[in-house]
């Protein structure tokens, strides 16, 4: 048996076999942890954008659209981002398993912790406003991306179901304004008795969303008017069309 020992040591010397350096293993371990961290970070971004889309989906509209809550939830569900989140969680699991001690933990534990970490981080990214910026970037730069903007356009261009949106082009009177909708059509909007959400005031070139009903061809009676971004949950009331002339 000792011949084999000697043969092995001789082969190591003859072939000049050298142990891999400590730096090699340090770099290898670091790379794996880096890739794990990156997967969790990208998963966080996906989770953050999904949270953003769910948060601003305007859930109160499902009745206007004639859907049940479940149907509406399926419509607004951010499938793309959840698929991306799942993908990155898969990567996170793979890289964690390849860390030095990672194999000791069960698949369920690793994936659950990664998902929780991503959701918490995504929530933080959402709170600081980063996911909203990313959503805008994707919408503007990625031609096939159908995010919240497209979803909003679809929902808010349903005048038959009492939902309309566009830009104010003219203040006709205290009770009427003209808008150009998202498809380029002009509408006369009766705003008498309507509630303007948030700190919104009727101003030309302002983009708005209107809840109400159609009263004829290109004529709409508004019950509630919201800013294009958000729901205008803060404050609200009936505004004077000409704030310089009349005050609330």
């Amino acid at each position: 048996m000792t011949d084999i020992n000697k043969d092995i040591v001789r082969k190591i010397k003859e072939d000049e076999v050298r142990p891999y350096s400590r730096h090699y293993f340090f770099l290898k371990r670091s790379a794996i942890w880096l890739l794990f961290g990156l997967s969790v970070l990208l998963g966080s971004i996906a989770a953050g954008i999904a949270i953003f889309q769910l948060r601003y989906a305007e859930w109160d509209l499902y009745r206007h659209l004639g859907h049940s809550l479940i149907e509406f939830a399926l419509l607004v569900f951010p499938c793309l981002w959840l698929v991306i989140l799942i993908g990155f969680m898969g990567f996170a699991y793979y890289y964690f398993r390849h860390t030095e001690q990672g194999y000791r933990y069960s698949m369920l534990l690793i994936i659950s912790l990664s998902v929780v970490l991503s959701i918490i981080s995504g929530g933080i990214l959402n709170t600081i406003g980063l996911t909203e910026k990313l959503e805008t970037v994707f919408h503007e730069k990625v031609f096939f991306y159908k995010g919240l903007e497209d979803h909003k356009r679809k929902i808010w261009m349903s005048p038959g179901q009492g939902l309309l949106s566009g830009m104010i082009t003219k203040i006709i009177s205290e009770e009427k304004i003209q808008i150009e909708d998202l498809q380029g059509n002009y509408w006369i909007i009766n705003i008498s008795g309507s509630v303007w959400r948030g700190r919104l005031k009727p101003v030309e070139n302002q983009k708005i969303k209107i809840i109400g009903r159609m009263a004829g061809k290109n004529i709409f009676v508004a019950n509630e008017i919201r800013p294009w971004q958000g729901r205008g949950k803060q404050g609200g009331g009936r505004h004077s069309v000409c704030p310089e002339k009349g005050r609330r």
């Binding site: 084999i4 020992n5 000697k6 040591v9 891999y20 293993f25 001690q101 194999y103």
Partner: protein, 196 residues
């Protein structure tokens, strides 16, 4: 190489450090584990003597290359068994002409494992019958590789669940599940072959 007694008293970790400084000292590390690894190769493969020695050489060269990667949180024996196991799997996939990876060539081994898997009352009957030992080998070789490898580590190499977990890089719970399932499989097949 003349200071054998002092090397015998050294821990594996000390020998690793010495081998990194002087490749001649690696001789003592090989000597310590050579028999165990060679026996494991015989249990885990059905290669001939020459091929097993070649495989042994490749394993120890690989261990030498990776000495700086040895994690001291692990037992050194678990670490080298891990390298040995991975190298055997690599060779198996390279030469897939063999039907199964694990093959028990030793009759005593076959009897040993059966005594652990079935009740003690059956031991005497089993040892008396060579035919039964052959059937045991057949049954074990028919088990899926994932069951064979855990049974080999547990009942032939005498590794604990934690050590098997470190060798195979699987969670301890998974190892326990695999061993239980392997035992159930074995008992079912043993019943079919009228062994239990």
């Amino acid at each position: 190489m003349t200071q054998k007694p002092s090397y015998e008293n050294m821990s594996d970790e000390q020998l690793v450090q010495l081998s990194l400084k002087d490749e001649n000292c690696y001789y003592y590390l090989i000597e310590r584990y050579e028999t165990k690894i060679l026996r494991y190769i015989h249990r885990a493969t059905n290669v001939n003597k020459e091929d097993s020695e070649d495989l042994l050489q490749e394993i120890f060269i690989k261990i030498y290359r990776n000495l700086n990667g040895f994690n001291q949180k692990l037992k050194f024996s678990s670490w080298i068994y891990r390298i040995a196991h991975n190298e055997i799997v690599r060779q198996y996939h390279k030469n897939k002409s063999r039907k199964t990876m694990f093959s028990l060539n030793d009759e005593d081994d076959a009897g040993n494992i059966l005594s652990q898997l079935i009740s003690d009352e059956d031991i005497c009957n089993i040892y008396e019958s060579r035919e039964k030992a052959t059937k045991v080998r057949e049954i074990l070789s028919q088990l899926p590789n994932k069951y064979q490898e855990v049974l080999v580590f547990r009942y032939f190499e005498g590794q604990s669940y934690k050590e098997i977990s470190d060798i195979l890089r699987k969670p301890p719970g998974t190892v326990a599940t695999l061993i239980n399932r392997a035992k159930l499989h074995f008992k079912k097949m043993a019943k079919r072959h009228h062994l239990a």
